[in-house]
Symmetry: C2
Subunit: 192 residues, 2 copies
């Protein structure tokens, strides 16, 4: 029910998000003052669009979260419970180590943007369902709780971040860490 943005405002909004994206990608801490300078816009303009750095960060991360949420929904249609769960989690960790905007958003307890909360809930619920199905099918140990999933994904991303390396290596590492974890939680031996 928000009136559509005025044309200049829409242009500035995009510009701010774009510059924020660049800053995040280059590892610079996201400071709204800094964003204002780089966009050439006034500080007030930036603060009106995004009241806090978190709000801007979540906006930058949104497209990626949308994709992950969609992937969660799709994984629910997989007939193989193990593949559904592991496939979804693979996408999540890969996104986490690929997009620097994601880890802080994923780890945050509260969100500045309502849509972010929705998306996170959607993903959490998909994960929980996938896990429940896998457990019911007897392919994962019962001692992995749904509430463990998000922290574990964040933990893996954190570990990968500490080891560093180029993007390709990071993705590979994340998959290896996740695979080890899942292997340890599996009840059936891996098919050679």
């Amino acid at each position: 029910m928000t009136t559509p943005l005025r044309k200049d405002a829409a242009r500035n909004w995009k510009r701010i998000v774009s510059v924020a994206r660049d800053l995040i990608d280059e590892g610079t801490p996201l400071q709204l003052n800094d964003v204002a300078r780089r966009t050439g816009l006034g500080v007030g303009t930036v603060y009106r669009h995004f009241a806090t750095p978190e709000a801007l960060l979540e906006t930058v991360a949104a497209p990626c979260l949308e994709r992950l949420a969609a992937h969660g929904r799709q994984a629910l249609t997989d007939t193989d419970p193990w593949r559904g769960l592991t496939g979804f989690l693979s996408h999540v960790v890969e996104a986490q180590v690929t997009d620097a905007a994601l880890p802080p958003v994923a780890a945050a307890a509260t969100d500045a943007v309502p849509r972010t909360t929705e998306l996170k809930k959607s993903m959490a619920s998909a994960g929980a369902t996938l896990l429940a199905r896998a457990r019911d099918a007897g392919v994962v140990r019962p001692d992995l709780a749904a509430a463990d999933l998000v922290p574990l994904m964040c933990g893996i991303a954190h570990a990968v971040g500490l080891r560093g390396g180029n993007p390709a290596d990071r993705v590979d590492l994340a998959h290896r860490y996740l695979a080890a974890f899942l292997e340890g939680l599996r009840t059936t031996p891996p098919t050679a």
Copy 2:
């Protein structure tokens, strides 16, 4: 070869470390100005003893690091490679989730206090040796590298931190996460 501290300086040093310990335990970010206020000392005094928050943090974490390093040396004497490795790692993750001073110190790439560097190197080297032995004994998959150990321990601590809970739960959770990981990296099936 540092001349011993004057009596008042030594007293203040201890007092600063003690207050810092409390602040860390209660989750307050470690700000030297804040430490000064709470100790009743002047800001200058605190800054002279510890040039940066990191230096103070590392000093607070030092006793725990000493214990872990000692444990690493002891684990090297274990005749069972698997038990030696897992026992050491258990102590590390337990310490990480128990002492809030540890995670940032463990994750930091560079250290403000020389002794910290020594201790971290000692622990890393113990871990590497334990891992090599386990691999040579054929009990862990060869795709776990020594360089993975520290990040993984930090990752687990991070995950536990996100899930939260009381100290006992946290320790339990850390052990469960570590166990799952190690199980996935083990070559021999667990003995029931």
